[in-house]
C-alpha cells in the first residue's frame, strides 16, 4: 500500500554510496534495491520516513526527516509543542499508546 506521493523527505546521494547494502537490509517498504554494487531507489513514495536507512548508512548517503506518521501524535505535538511521538515508552502508561 502506498501513502501520499511527493511528500517524503528521503534524500539519497548515490555518489556517496559504498554499496554495503544496509539500506536494502533495513527498509521495511522495499524502497532500496542493489544495482551494480550501489543502492538504488525503487519508488520513493513507498517511504514511511522511519529512518532506519539513514541510521544505518555509514557513508551519509541517505538522509530523512524521520518521525511517526501518526495523526494523534502530531496533533499532540501541535498542542503541547515538541516532536511528535507516540508516548509508548512512558512509564506513566499512556492509554492512547500506538
Amino acid at each position: 500500500m502506498k501513502y501520499l506521493v511527493n511528500v517524503t523527505t528521503l534524500a539519497y546521494k548515490d555518489d556517496k554510496c559504498a554499496g554495503c547494502g544496509r539500506c536494502v537490509e533495513v527498509c521495511p517498504q522495499g524502497v532500496f534495491e542493489m544495482n551494480e554494487k550501489k543502492a538504488m531507489i525503487t519508488d520513493r513514495d513507498l517511504c514511511m520516513e522511519c529512518g532506519a536507512c539513514a541510521k544505518n548508512c555509514d557513508f551519509e548517503a541517505i538522509s530523512v526527516n524521520s518521525g511517526v506518521g501518526c495523526a494523534a501524535a502530531i496533533i499532540n505535538s501541535m498542542i503541547k509543542g515538541g516532536e511528535p511521538n507516540c508516548g509508548c515508552s512512558d512509564t506513566s502508561g499512556s492509554s492512547n499508546c500506538c
Binding site: N56, C70, C86, S89
Partner: protein, 309 residues
C-alpha cells in the same frame, strides 16, 4: 504489568557456543512470538529492556537502541557465552540501532533478520539471507481488522461527551431541559454519531485499499458520506425532514468519520510523518469549519423551534 520479561540472556533448546543469538524486546507477547518461531532451533535470545514495549515502537523511541544493545551484550557477557561474533536483530529494530556503532563497541556484527519472526527458520536455512518478502511489512485485511478495537475504543471514550452535548442541546427549552424533547432529534444525532465512529474506526481501516484516494482523511470522508447517505435513505429519520438538520448531518458526520479515519495513520505500516502533517494542515481547518457550521445550524434550528427567529 505482567507483560514484561526480565531483560538478559535466555536459551532456547540446547544452544552451544556456535548457536545464533537473537535479540528482542522485553514485551512478553514479542518474546513469546520469537520463542515459538525458534521451535526446533537451538539458539540464544538476548532480551533488551524496552520497558515492556514491542520492537518497532521501542526502536522509534530509542529504547530498543544501540546503547541498550551494547549494555545487554556486556551484562550478559555474551562474548564468553558464544565463540562467534554475530547477532541477529529483528529488522524493525533498525530504526533504533546503528549496526556499525554496535559492532565498533562490542565486536559483534549485527544482522537484521526478517520483519516477521515466523520467517526466522527460512532465514536461517538460507544462511542469514532475506527474500524481499521477508524484509517487507505485510498489512493485510486481517492485520487491519485486529487493530480496529484500538480505533473504536478511544473514539467511544469521547462519545459520552458528544452524547451529553447533543442531548442537552436538543433537550433545551425556554422553560429548561425538557426530557420529552431530548429524544426526538437527539436520538437521530446519536445514531449518526455512532455511524461516524463505525465508518471512521472500523469500515475505513478494514476496507483501506479498496476505498479510493491515498489520503486517509478523504477515505474516511467518502466512507462516512456513503454511510450517512445510506442511513438517511434507509431509516429516513423524521427529524431530518427538516432541511437545516439534514444539511447539518451531511456537513458534520462525514467530517467526523474523516477525522477518526485519520487517526488510523498511527496504526498503519506505511504512513509517514510528512504525509500525515500535510493531511492535518488542510484537514484541521476543514474539521473546525464543519464543526462550527454544524453547531450554528443546530442552534438556528433551536431558535426557530423556540420561535425566536
Amino acid at each position: 504489568m505482567a507483560y514484561i520479561v526480565e531483560p538478559g540472556l535466555y536459551a532456547v533448546g540446547s544452544p552451544t557456543k556456535d548457536s545464533d543469538v537473537f535479540v528482542t524486546a522485553n514485551y512478553k507477547l514479542t518474546f513469546d512470538i520469537l520463542r515459538r518461531s525458534l521451535y526446533q532451533i537451538d539458539a540464544w535470545i538476548l532480551v533488551l529492556d524496552t520497558k515492556g514495549i514491542n520492537v518497532w515502537c521501542a526502536a522509534g523511541k530509542g529504547t530498543f537502541g544501540t546503547d541498550e544493545l551494547v549494555r545487554q551484550i556486556r551484562l550478559s557477557k555474551l562474548d564468553s557465552v558464544v565463540e562467534h561474533r554475530r547477532i541477529i536483530l529483528p529488522q524493525l529494530g533498525a530504526v533504533g540501532v546503528s549496526a556499525s556503532q554496535a559492532q565498533k563497541i562490542t565486536g559483534f556484527r549485527v544482522f537484521f533478520g526478517p520483519v516477521d519472526a515466523r520467517d526466522i527458520p527460512a532465514y536461517v536455512a538460507l544462511g542469514r539471507k532475506k527474500t524481499k518478502e521477508m524484509s517487507t511489512i505485510r498489512f493485510n485485511i486481517l492485520d487491519r481488522l485486529v487493530l480496529t478495537p484500538m480505533e473504536i475504543n478511544p473514539a467511544m471514550k469521547k462519545f459520552p461527551w458528544f452524547a451529553l452535548a447533543v442531548l442537552v442541546l436538543f433537550g433545551l427549552q425556554p422553560s429548561g431541559i425538557l426530557f420529552s424533547s431530548i429524544w426526538h432529534p437527539g436520538m437521530t444525532f446519536l445514531l449518526f454519531g455512532l455511524l461516524a465512529v463505525l465508518a471512521g474506526a472500523f469500515v475505513t481501516p478494514v476496507l483501506l485499499p479498496f476505498v479510493p484516494f491515498r489520503s486517509f482523511a478523504v477515505k474516511g470522508w467518502i466512507v462516512g458520506m456513503a454511510m450517512v447517505a445510506g442511513a438517511v435513505l434507509i431509516i429516513d429519520p423524521l427529524p431530518l425532514h427538516n432541511m437545516l438538520l439534514l444539511v447539518s448531518v451531511y456537513v458534520f458526520f462525514p467530517a467526523l468519520s474523516s477525522y477518526i479515519a485519520l487517526q488510523f495513520t498511527g496504526s498503519t505500516t506505511f504512513t509517514g510523518m510528512s504525509g500525515v502533517k500535510k493531511e492535518l494542515k488542510i484537514g484541521i481547518t476543514l474539521y473546525a469549519t464543519a464543526t462550527a457550521a454544524f453547531i450554528i445550524m443546530v442552534v438556528v434550528y433551536k431558535l426557530k423551534e423556540w420561535e425566536v427567529i
